[in-house]
Symmetry: C2
Subunit: 189 residues, 2 copies
């Protein structure tokens, strides 16, 4: 009887050890996702650059020098990027609390967390795609539609946008990893 | 002994029935994902509009009328969109074969399919985000960076881009659903 009980305890302990390691990995990823999406939202949210640019009103008049400011809310793609990162960041904080609350391992709540993680992957990647598309246009312009590049003027602003996109991409990968980890975890059960 | 065997058969049959229904749902979703991403890639891939537009060389000369063509490969965001949809479409076809091949239910292969479905969600949503961001600029323009709207000229082209984005979004949701379904399936096991 004693040997039998020991034989059962062994694998359970290994399983529990694996579970604890997975739970720790999940917590680290959630904190990372929270920090990265927060950093991305702030990086673009505070991004602002003012430059004095020459404005030619007529070819025979000297140019007029006017100050121009580049800000995130001037471009709808950047607004979408900041909003998606803010949503993902708030959800990451909430999901940390929910994960702690769900130490008993309620299946319904765990499933809801996986689905919401997945929605965050979709939301963040679309925000990244939008910001990157506009960023590329800003750096290179497009001669076909006569959209001139603007990053030769607002270089600092553009570089900060690029940094925000990279940080947000890392945050999105953290969410993607969380979904993959959850699937792996469910499969092992 | 007979009652016991019957008691075990019942739930197994229900489980198998559920499993078969899930497998059918998965196949329908995969075929949908394949069709939608293929349609999106083709819709944008064949999108082309030529218009004769007036070009003012000097203010005291009459405008020069030149033909201008809008095509998907003129804009890097649209190229990315077509490429992501083509990748997702090819993968959907491959995954259909793999799902048929994996009727035995090998865990490793099933896990690989979930991870790749997840990667497709990320890829497609970033492509959608990029195409939408450029589409919005085309429809509305942006006065801050002096990018004029172009959809007043290339209306048909822009509408076809919008249709491709909607179709691709439905395809992306099919992949998202596939991941959610797989997680639900794993949890029930």
């Amino acid at each position: 009887m004693e040997t039998e009980s020991k034989a059962y305890t062994g694998p359970t302990e290994v399983k529990e050890g694996n579970g604890r390691r997975m739970r720790f990995g999940e917590l680290v990823l959630r904190v990372l996702a929270l920090a990265l999406t927060l950093a991305a939202a702030i990086l673009l949210g505070v991004d602002k650059q003012t430059k004095v640019i020459p404005l030619t009103l007529a070819p025979n008049l000297p140019p007029l020098y006017v100050p121009a400011t580049a800000e995130w809310h001037h471009m709808s793609a950047f607004v979408f990027f900041v909003v998606t990162n803010a949503i993902a960041c708030s959800y990451a904080a909430l999901s940390l609390l929910l994960t702690f609350a769900n130490r008993g391992g309620k299946k319904g709540l765990a499933m809801m967390i996986i689905i919401l993680d997945l929605v965050m992957v979709a939301l963040l990647f679309s925000g990244n795609g939008a910001a990157t598309a506009v960023g590329v246009l800003g750096y290179q312009g497009n001669s076909h539609v006569r959209w001139n590049k603007v990053c030769n003027v607002f270089g600092k602003f553009c570089n900060q946008v690029a940094a925000a996109v990279v940080v947000s991409l890392l945050g999105s990968i953290a969410f993607l990893w969380l979904v993959a980890l959850a699937a792996l975890n469910l499969q092992k059960k």
